[in-house]
Amino acid sequence: MRIEKIILKNYRQFRDVEILLNKSLSSDLNIFIGKNGAGKTNILNAINWCLYGDEPHLSKDSQQLPMLNLQTIKETIDEGDQEVMVEVYVKLEEERTIIFTRRATYRVYKEERLPQLRNCDFEARFSDEKGNTKFLQNEDAVSLVERFVSKDMREFFFFDGERLDNYFKIATIQNISHAVFVISQIDLLRNKIENRLDTVLRELRREAGKENPKIDEIRNRLEEDEDKLKDVENRIEECKKQIEIAKGKAKECSDNLMRIPDVEALEKERERLKREKKSKKEILDTKKKERQDLLFEYEKIIFLWPAIENSLQTINEKKRLKEIPPTVDRSLLEEILKNKVCSICGTPLNDTSEKRVNDLLQNIKLSSIISQKLLNMENPLRSFIEESKFFDEKLRKINYEITDYNKNLERIEIDLSEIDKKLSGYDPERIRRWQEQRKEYEEIQTKNQKLLGQLEMKRDELNKSIDDLKKQYEDELKKEKKFELIKKQIDFCSKALDVAKKTEEIILRQTREKIESETNKLFFNLIWKKETFKNVEIKPDFNINLIHSMGYECLGTISSAEREVLALSFTLALQTISGFNSPILIDTPVARVSDELRTNFGKVLLDVSTGQQIILLFTPSEYDKDISKLLDPRSSGRFMLKLSSNEKEVKMEVL
């Protein structure tokens, strides 16, 4: 089944728009591009409103606005009536077209009131085998819709991208079991046939009981037990559900707790790093002091170098000339000459010895003070010269050491800040709450497990009692010939009910298995990382799992795009199994898909469109160069939605 055409009159932004959805030989893909607010999602709403009478995807803005087009309201006289109409042309496999039309008449008021709904009707029209046009109204038309995409199933066919992404967050066990239930048409069996057979059976038994109080008593007890059994079975279902919920919530808490850092270990590490930092800092400070001392010491040597060198040269020269050290003390000679007596032996000087002393004195150039000073200077100055050779090397060494320690300290700082980052999200209060909650949920699970055990035991007891009572009942009936006929009916009805229940079980199991198998087939056909995953599982309790090739469940950790492919595969599987072949309409299909996977997902959609009608609604930013390059050549129709400047109307441009 596909949608051929949609006509919208006065429906929200669409004042008078006709949308023709063509298909080509190779694909059935129609693309709508429009900014948010331009009416894309309202195309989805229009289809829903026409077929089902409601608008499940209305934005908050649209919810405030009347359904009647604003420009039309503006141009209508006070208390004038206007009609909203949406018509959906549905083409069936047998080439027959059914036209569904929903109309709503609104009265417009010029004052601040919203237009009031006056009338609404829904009609289906088609041509029969003879070519005559047939009309179905309201409830009958609704039944017809139910045959194509039942309201229960529509969420699996018409949905927005966000739902696709959230599929396995929102689609809990209940929703999936519901889908299986609806698709397998078990609804008819369980809620209609079984319930009604049960009602008729009870009535038959009551009838038999009227004639015989003993039979009636047994019947009463039987019915009581059957009612109790129903109640216990309901409670068992509820119990299982609660266990499932508690398990899920406990897991959520565990997941949250797992994400918190190993605080104790991190704190220990942090302390160690702080100690290391302190010690390294101390050494660094020492090294810096060393450098200061080095520079301070060498300042005088290097700045006074010319003077040092000069003095040393002088000293060397004097030594070479043997002027230092002095052989005779000059002041001694001067004293001898002055006193004319030798200070050493006490002999008075004669002319010869006086001349000799004078000559000696002439030869001594330097005073003893000066000589002594020069000699005293020699060693220190030589030390300075010697020391100076090592200046560069010492400076280089100390600088290297300082740089090294600085680098170490930097590394420690980085490590510390990493630890701080890890610990910053650590809120002990929240952690304590999660731990408490997890404990609570685990307790709920345990409590319910116990209760479940008790209920199951009770159920077994009741089943046994019911079997016994049934046997007793039958035996009583057998005793009297007049009950033969009614007994036969009761037996027949009982057996039919039994067969119906067993059939239901089988169908559910088969449907579930088929959906699982089909989902697997589709998923592995569509997904790009085929080797990463092993299989998709739909358990008997309708829990859906994606198993990694390494054997663990990975539904919670796959990317948005992968999740959407799984959701899409599941949907298509539902379609195949249910036999409902309906268009798939996706609003903003790649908005939540990360860039590099968008084209992959686009290819998936393209693939699917070879088999059935796909309608995609993109925002301009979603419909980027890459997606456009991929989808343009293969699309059978592309439309641009443009909001008028007064924002009251949308025009559609065929691209």
Binding site: Y298, I302, S311, I370, K373, N376, M377, L395
Partner: protein, 142 residues
């Protein structure tokens, strides 16, 4: 022989400049949290004045370093400056004059040092000193 002076003097105004040396860790006086003695500071200033070939007579006199605190290498440097400056070893016989030369170099030196430190406020004086010493050392090596 002239009298032997028992101390090295500074100009009274220089006292404050020596105190301001505390702003640089490398030059800080030991009594104010650093490690340098007044003698070391004096010789540092003296060497700086010598490097810049600047001598300045003192306007006033204030005892700063006791002669008895001078060690052989301190004396050697002071004498070397005096010899270099007068180009004669005879100066060594006039201790007063030797000290005067040292004092005048130190006087010029401390003024110039203070000015230098002020002008390197964004880079530490230590960095400047390191750079200068390294450059001068390269020349000495050759």
């Amino acid at each position: 022989m002239s009298e032997i002076p028992d101390r090295l003097n500074i100009d009274r105004k220089d006292r404050e400049l020596y105190n301001k040396l505390d702003s640089e860790e490398i030059l800080k006086f030991k009594d104010n949290g650093g490690t340098r003695t007044r003698k070391e500071q004096f010789i540092f200033a003296m060497a700086y004045g010598f490097k810049l070939e600047s001598r300045k007579p003192l306007d006033s006199m204030e005892g700063f370093v006791l002669a008895k605190d001078l060690r052989p290498d301190d004396e050697a440097l002071i004498n070397a400056i005096a010899i270099y400056n007068t180009k004669s070893i005879e100066i060594l016989s006039d201790q007063k004059e030797v000290f005067k030369i040292a004092e005048e170099y130190a006087h010029a030196g401390i003024i110039l040092l203070d000015s230098k430190i002020k002008s390197t406020s964004f880079v530490s004086y230590e960095r400047e000193l390191e750079k200068t010493l390294h450059e001068m050392f390269q020349k000495i090596k050759l």
